[in-house]
């Protein structure tokens, strides 16, 4: 309640009821008889709209791609057509809001087809026709849900925030946990095993700090700072078996720039990796994951669980040598049955060869590709405008830029859908400050298509929304634990202290 934006109030109000209320009081586009458009003036160009959808590829189960017409107009007439279906809408504003039911039917009937949205606008008495916006409807469905944290793009501190799950075929959003339920608690580092809600974790800091883990139907809280680690564990990655979670332990600092639009940089002053055995409540590591001469971070297991990917850089004097800190993509073998980390580090992408730093490796569900972010230096891409997404073909051993996904601002924090055809990533491309969730299609060969901004019910949403979408992750089944359950576990005890096992 302490944040004013429409969607933020929505977050707290249990889906259906609030949505019904808002639906009841909102204006909706209505299907009307077609006006006489035969004399419409043809501009010969695309209409200026936000968000832009021309040329994007969308899943057939995505929510309506509502948009607003950016030039001045009094009325809009919109024709949406594909080879199999057609619908017309009339709006007496500059906002195009489709009926969810019509849209779902339409898109479902238009799989593997191009859809054309022809926008007619009217200011005075004459209609103007624009070239149609064209997008392609993929036959591949997208995961049901998107999970993210919403937080203001601050500098050092934070205030209100929350973790939410959003239905991707509609605009329904459900609260996982927020500052209303747990005031003064910072929450992030959410992570799921294989895009499913049966094994997940959420890291809490400050008030009632600790790590909440849900595994085998059991919700527990643990303390991850041990005598053998210099901080709490973060940036998690579940092992596909659900028995382990790999973490990095980081000591992060930030620097703030006096000029330019890049307001800050985050630096790892220290970084090691540890693996948590969920059943035994025990951490272990090896010299290859926590070398005193190197910084290791951002773990990720292969889908078969046999390799652990991470990024690593030789240690240096910081912040003076920050621009020399370039991370390579590495991997080690992992024996899940014995819980043994291999000794041979395979450098997959050498930062020295690449001339850049790599970060946030994410292996595709089929194990063929690793998507990662490259940046000039460091391993926290969130502030680096040059941060771009690349894909590494593990078979061809080839790194390719995902040009269709990239912009001249930050792209990072990407996550694969469970079928490996959709990727959600964060980007500051809209204004350089707010991180938005963008969704893009990747085909079997790892080739990307133009991405689209996470659709919102109100096309004005992004104009006034003051929060970033942080660490978006696909989820294929709903998160059923209520915020109160998490809060109960978080607040009733300090949590079990995780042990550190030295024999590895």
């Amino acid at each position: 309640m302490r944040v004013y934006r429409h969607a933020l109030v929505m977050k707290r109000v249990n889906g259906t009821i609030a949505l019904s209320l808002v639906i009841a009081i909102s204006f909706f586009g209505c299907k009307e008889g077609k006006p006489d458009l035969s004399n419409a003036f043809e501009t010969g160009i695309l209409p200026k709209v936000f968000p832009e959808y021309d040329g994007v590829t969308v899943p057939w189960n995505i929510a309506p791609l509502n948009f607003k017409y950016l030039d001045s107009c009094r009325y809009l007439y919109v024709n949406v057509s594909s080879s199999y279906s057609e619908m017309d809408y009339f709006f007496d504003s500059n906002k195009v809001k489709f009926s969810e039911k019509d849209w779902t039917n339409f898109l479902s009937n238009s799989r593997e087809d191009s859809v054309f949205i022809t926008v007619y606008s009217r200011n005075g008495s004459k209609w103007t026709k624009h070239n149609p916006i064209r997008f392609y409807v993929s036959e591949h469905r997208i995961d049901k849900l998107l999970l993210y944290r919403r937080i203001m793009p601050g500098y050092q501190t934070w205030n209100t925030m929350g973790v939410y799950q959003r239905e991707l075929s509609s605009f329904k959003e459900k609260l996982i946990l927020d500052s209303e339920v747990m005031p003064g608690t910072c929450m992030n580092c959410h992570n799921f095993r294989d895009n499913k809600a049966d094994s997940w974790m959420l890291h809490l800091r400050e008030n009632y700090g600790g790590t909440i883990i849900f595994s085998d139907g059991d919700l527990k809280k643990i303390q991850t700072k041990t005598d053998h680690t210099f901080g709490s564990a973060g940036f998690p990655a579940w092992h596909p078996s659900g028995n382990y979670i790999a973490f990095s332990v980081n000591q992060v600092t930030q620097i703030f720039h006096a000029i330019g639009d890049v307001r800050a940089h985050a630096l790892d002053m220290k970084s090691d990796m540890v693996i948590y055995n969920v059943d035994r409540n025990e951490f272990f590591t090896s010299s290859v994951l926590s070398s005193p001469n190197a910084y290791e971070a951002f773990p990720c297991f292969s889908p078969d669980g046999e390799r652990l990917y991470f990024v690593s850089s030789p240690s240096g004097k910081l912040p003076e040598e920050q621009e020399e800190m370039k991370y390579s993509l590495c991997s080690v073998s992992f024996d899940e049955y014995k819980g043994i980390i291999g000794n041979d580090v395979d450098t997959i992408i050498s930062a020295r060869t690449l001339g850049k730093s790599v970060s946030l490796p994410r292996v595709s569900p089929d194990g063929k590709y690793i998507m990662l972010t490259t940046l000039d230096y460091g391993n926290f891409p969130a502030y680096n405008p040059e941060a771009d997404l690349y894909i590494y073909d593990l078979t061809k051993r080839e790194l390719v830029e995902l040009k269709a996904f990239n912009s001249d601002n930050v792209e990072s924090w990407h996550s694969w859908s469970s079928n490996g055809h959709w990727v959600v990533f964060s980007s500051r491309r809209r204004d350089g400050l707010f991180m938005d969730a963008w969704i893009g299609y990747v085909d079997e060969k790892g080739a990307p298509q133009k991405p689209f901004l996470l659709p919102q019910k109100d096309p004005d949403f992004y104009d006034s929304f003051l929060f970033s979408f942080n660490v978006p992750e696909f989820l294929n089944e709903p998160f059923e634990i209520s915020p109160y359950q998490i809060a109960n576990v978080a607040t009733k005890s300090k949590g079990q202290q995780a042990e550190f096992e030295n024999s590895h």
Binding site: M1, Y4, G154, D178, S179, V181, A258, I259, D431, L466
Partner: protein
């Protein structure tokens, strides 16, 4: 009662109520007005969120509270709105207590909760919307007691519980406990005691049940907030005793009044009159004791900085000194630097600390004051950083209007129209900032060139931006000042701060070195502290220092310095008190004895 008696009774009520209201006005107007004005800057009113507010408990009160809080931007508005609400509360309380007890004592009982709520406003964490919520609950009681018939009254009572909870949050307990007691003590012979008890208990049960139920089906909140709502207190995990007492004061007083009434305890009219007057005096005394005078002085400076009343700040500081607060010293130093008087007046102001910038501190609006010097100096990124940190530092996560305006300004200065629009959009919904923001919005949308539509102030700040990058480090503020001067050699504020920094750190080499650009700043008079510094430096060296030639020492300074030397030689170094009396406002005293802070 005779006709004359009725007349006197009415006069008495008007006198007592009028005195209380005037006292309230005077107390807030004299002792707390700057803190009231400061409230406006702590949260932003956005009228487009009316429906969003309505879908949460206490929402209507929050909306109305924010709406009325807008008027707090003006001193007169703050005072009028506060007194107006206190007056309305008294009127409705009087109507309720007149129902319970004889009208003779009703006014006395009415003043107590009103005084309690007025005192709650002294707590900066208590929301003005709490006053609105309380008013709504007593209006509810007033509606309820005027309904006479049985089941209809019961249904009305239940509906009022629901509405009061939804519109006024925790004030529902004021309503339900009050009507419970009113039912119990009512002399209505048409209903049985058991029936009345059933009514009353039902209201209380419903007022507890409702939040407990709704928090599981309609919204997610921590337990306390579910019951109390966010209309009352900024800290969502804390419920102060004073607030509990205020919420329960009406039912408590109803109980006492009814007890007196049923026990036939009555007080002479004159006694009630004097008791009421005593209560008003007591209220004044408590108000005075609870009011934080130091905070009031700090907020005055804060408000003056926000309104850019630089000269007024300097005059105020010279007259009254500077309260012991880093924020206050930053404000006064900024005003002096803005006016080009820092290097003249710094030692003349009592209590002024050598604090030019303050580090980020997660404490309410403190980061905002930290942003002020950066902003005016031209350190736009750091000013924005502090303004954005202010959004994150307010304990209730409400958007402070000052910070939102500052963020818009910094984006306008850096030419980031997209982001400027976003924050200007928030301000365009307000009453007092909409003209300013809408003008900028229309100019941005009309693609006018920045220099055309930016105010002179924003254009000036733009001209001061550094052109080389460096990192934020408030411990080495002088580094930022050097970058600023390198980018714009006419940045007099930066020069004032830098020279003062060198002098305070007794870094004479750098001071002398930067006298090389002194002439660029076209000082009308040579800064007094420069003169005092030169007089002192000349005693340290027999060499000719040509750069010092630009500083002309006036006859007064020369004579005073000779006196200082003479006193010092006469053992002044062992008598700092005497030296302070004679030379406490000079640079020489600072050099030998440190800052004169007393």
């Amino acid at each position: 009662m005779t006709k004359m008696g009725v007349y006197f009774y009415k006069v008495q009520i008007f006198v007592v109520a009028g005195l209380f209201i005037i006292t309230t006005g005077l107390l807030f107007g004299i002792f707390h007005i700057e803190q009231l004005v400061y409230r406006e800057q702590l949260q932003l009113f956005q009228d487009n969120n009316f429906l969003e507010k309505l879908i949460v408990p206490g929402g209507l009160s929050i909306f109305a509270g924010e709406f009325f809080l807008q008027f707090f931007k003006l001193h007169i508005g703050a005072l009028f709105v506060t007194v107006f609400f206190v007056t309305i509360i008294i009127i409705f309380l009087f109507r309720i207590f007149s129902f319970v007890t004889n009208k003779n004592t009703a006014i006395f009982f009415s003043l107590l909760p009103a005084a309690g709520y007025a005192l709650l406003l002294l707590d900066r964490f208590f929301y003005f919307s709490g006053l609105v919520a309380f008013l709504l609950s007593i209006i509810g009681i007033d509606i309820y007691i005027r309904e006479k018939r049985g089941w209809r009254k019961f249904i009305l009572g239940l509906l009022l519980v629901v509405f009061t909870y939804w519109f006024a949050g925790g004030a529902v307990f004021t309503f339900s406990f009050s009507v419970f007691l009113l039912e119990i003590v009512s002399a209505d012979s048409r209903s049985s005691f058991r029936g009345k008890l059933f009514f009353g208990v039902s209201y209380i049960v419903l007022s507890f049940l409702l939040p407990a139920l709704l928090r599981n089906i309609l919204f997610y909140e921590n337990v306390l907030q579910s019951f109390v709502s966010e209309a009352f207190y900024r800290i969502p995990v804390f419920l102060p005793v004073e607030l509990i007492l205020a919420l329960l004061s009406v039912p408590l007083l109803i109980f006492i009044a009814a007890f007196f009434e049923s026990a036939n305890i009555s007080f002479p009219q004159r006694m009630v009159y004097f008791l009421s007057l005593f209560m008003i005096i007591l209220f004044g005394g408590i108000f005075y004791c609870l009011n934080n005078t130091n905070e009031e002085r700090i907020r005055k400076l804060d408000n003056l900085v926000f309104n850019k009343k630089w000269n007024e700040i300097a005059i105020h500081a010279r007259k009254q000194g500077v309260p012991d607060s880093k924020e206050a010293s930053v404000a006064v130093n900024l005003s002096l630097a803005k006016e080009g008087r820092l290097t003249t007046d710094f030692f003349k102001i009592q209590g002024l600390q050598p604090v030019f910038v303050i580090p980020y501190e997660r404490k309410g609006m403190t980061p905002f004051m930290a942003s002020e010097p950066y902003y005016y100096l031209g350190l736009n990124n750091f000013a924005r950083m502090m303004a954005m940190e202010t959004l994150e530092s307010t304990v209730d996560a409400k958007l402070p209007v000052r910070a939102v305006k500052r963020i818009s300004e910094t984006f306008l200065i850096s030419g980031n129209d997209k982001l400027a629009q976003k924050y200007l959009g928030l301000l365009s919904e307000t009453m007092f900032y909409s003209t300013w923001s809408k003008r900028h919005l229309s100019q941005i949308r009309g693609n006018e060139s920045k220099t055309e539509f930016l105010s002179q102030e924003l254009n000036e700040i733009r001209s001061r931006l550094p052109d080389e990058d460096f990192y934020y480090n408030e411990k080495h503020f002088e580094v930022a000042l050097l970058y600023l001067l390198r980018a714009n050699k006419h940045n007099r504020m930066a020069y004032e701060y830098l020279m003062m920094h060198y002098l305070l750190n007794k870094n004479f080499d750098s001071f002398i070195n930067f006298l090389s650009i002194y002439s660029l700043f076209k000082y009308e008079e040579t800064p007094l502290i420069f003169q005092e510094a030169k007089a002192y430096i000349q005693t340290l060296t027999s060499d000719d220092v040509p750069l010092l030639d630009v500083v002309n020492i006036s006859k007064n300074v020369e004579e005073k310095f000779n006196m200082y030397i003479s006193e010092f030689r006469k053992g002044g170094n062992k008598r700092p008190e005497r030296m302070k009396d004679l030379f406490g406002d000079t640079y020489w005293y600072y050099l030998h004895f440190g800052r004169n802070d007393s």
